[in-house]
Symmetry: C2
Subunit: 127 residues, 2 copies
DNA sequence: CGGTTAGATTGATGAACTTCGATATAGAAA
DNA sequence: TTTCTATATCGAAGTTCATCAATCTAACCG
């Protein structure tokens, strides 16, 4: 005999009738509040930026670089990727709010946005 | 006049000749150690599991559920997704080491793997 | 001015991903 | 056994993504 806290409502409407509540009933609508669709999309967009090995290495190299910044030419070679591809990945990291871009002369320097990592871990801890 | 710490080696070979070292030279190979390709792939696979809004909501709902666990039927309705799709997302979260699956009777209960969130934030902080 | 160089943008290609409907499996009840 | 139910798996369709070659832009130099 299996104990089950409910779950007989596959394909019923949202309101809970007394009958439903009395039966073997189902699906406690959860005790704690959960993130809504919009929040989920916002957070997923950040994790999407982190969901690529080359982008993680970019963050790692920038973080470990002297002065906390690196230009594209510092990043192309260790990744064995073409310059357009590296630029593309960097743009994704900038758009996600993880990297900061500063142009000095012909060079573009990338650095970690202060607090970005902490803010991102917060997105996980507050799920 | 712009100060630049180097970067004239676009399209040269790997070894650094004395000439290269003497010139305006480039690309300090970075001061700190960075994660290697394999580590980057491992970490990216976890973030890939988090890079979908519906999977973030699954984690959120499971975390907020009474008893810390939820079955598939608890999860299908709030996501407005078909049951096969929810099962598919849950499998990805289990494979990433974020969710634990336990079958009791006909039902499958999913719960957060203890310490999984903390371990994941560590993947970011130790970049 | 023209020439050179760092970096960004565009367009195309192939791979990976999300979703669904249909089907399969496994357990419980009759 | 047969039937029903919860979940998993399969196969296909449509979308998104990573990568590259080619091109464009902007800044420097002569």
């Amino acid at each position: 005999m299996y104990v089950h806290n409910g779950c007989m409502n596959s394909g019923r409407t949202l309101e809970l009738t007394p009958v439903d509540a009395a039966t073997d009933a189902c699906c406690e609508p959860s005790g704690q509040p959960t993130i809504d669709t919009y929040e989920a999309q916002l957070r997923a967009s950040v994790f999407k930026a982190l969901a690529d090995p080359n982008r993680l290495r970019l963050l790692s190299i920038v973080k470990g670089s002297e002065g906390g910044e690196a230009c594209v030419c510092d990043l192309t070679e260790p990744l064995s990727l073409g310059q357009p591809t590296v630029s593309h990945h960097l743009k994704i990291l900038v758009d996600a709010g993880l990297l900061h871009r500063e142009k000095r002369g012909t060079w573009a320097y990338y650095s970690l946005v202060p607090g970005a990592i902490e803010r991102t871990t917060g997105l996980l801890e507050s799920l």
